[in-house]
Symmetry: C2
Subunit: 85 residues, 2 copies
Amino acid sequence: MINTNEFMAGLGKQVRFHRMKAGLTQVQLANMAGVGKTTVFDIEKGKTSVQIDSLLAVLGIVNIDIQFSGPLSMEYEKLMERENN
Amino acid sequence: MINTNEFMAGLGKQVRFHRMKAGLTQVQLANMAGVGKTTVFDIEKGKTSVQIDSLLAVLGIVNIDIQFSGPLSMEYEKLMERENN
DNA sequence: AGTATTTTACTGTTATGGCAGTAATACTGA
DNA sequence: TCAGTATTACTGCCATAACAGTAAAATACT
């Protein structure tokens, strides 16, 4: 089971690391992502209640990829392929 | 760049697939995840403005894993390791 | 077909996330 | 040290996510 606090804390640190390597300030990143500076600050701080769209917008700018996979994902994909033929 | 709509739509379908395979109704999943039934419905429908904590709670129940990785993730990890020694 | 269950959709309420503005603190470089 | 920049923290407002309740539509079951 995923610990939301840990997950977001880790993600926040990665965002900060990538942002700084890119030479961006929080405000610059916020503007590029189309969110408020407070949101970037909150994400880096590990806030757990940010909205997905805000987070994905920020992650997109700093080039962090998000992936999901469950035990039945492969089965699902194959099923979808079949449907599209 | 990630398309938020597509991402959430895909994730929603995976959630639904996993939930049904687990033999759970939306209401049951909602109760187990500690969120409202509307939230589960919204996630499966691909709503892009749900909050991370709600989403992670639901994903945890249906055993879907979320991972993130950026071009500098490895570098960051190594840096952290060094700090902890 | 008929019934029970589930899902979808809508509503009104409540709680809070997102936001800009601001100010104080911390950091960086000359 | 001093000045400029960035981050952190706080405030108040607004928009809306989360929620339960309800009802209709869709699905499943016998």
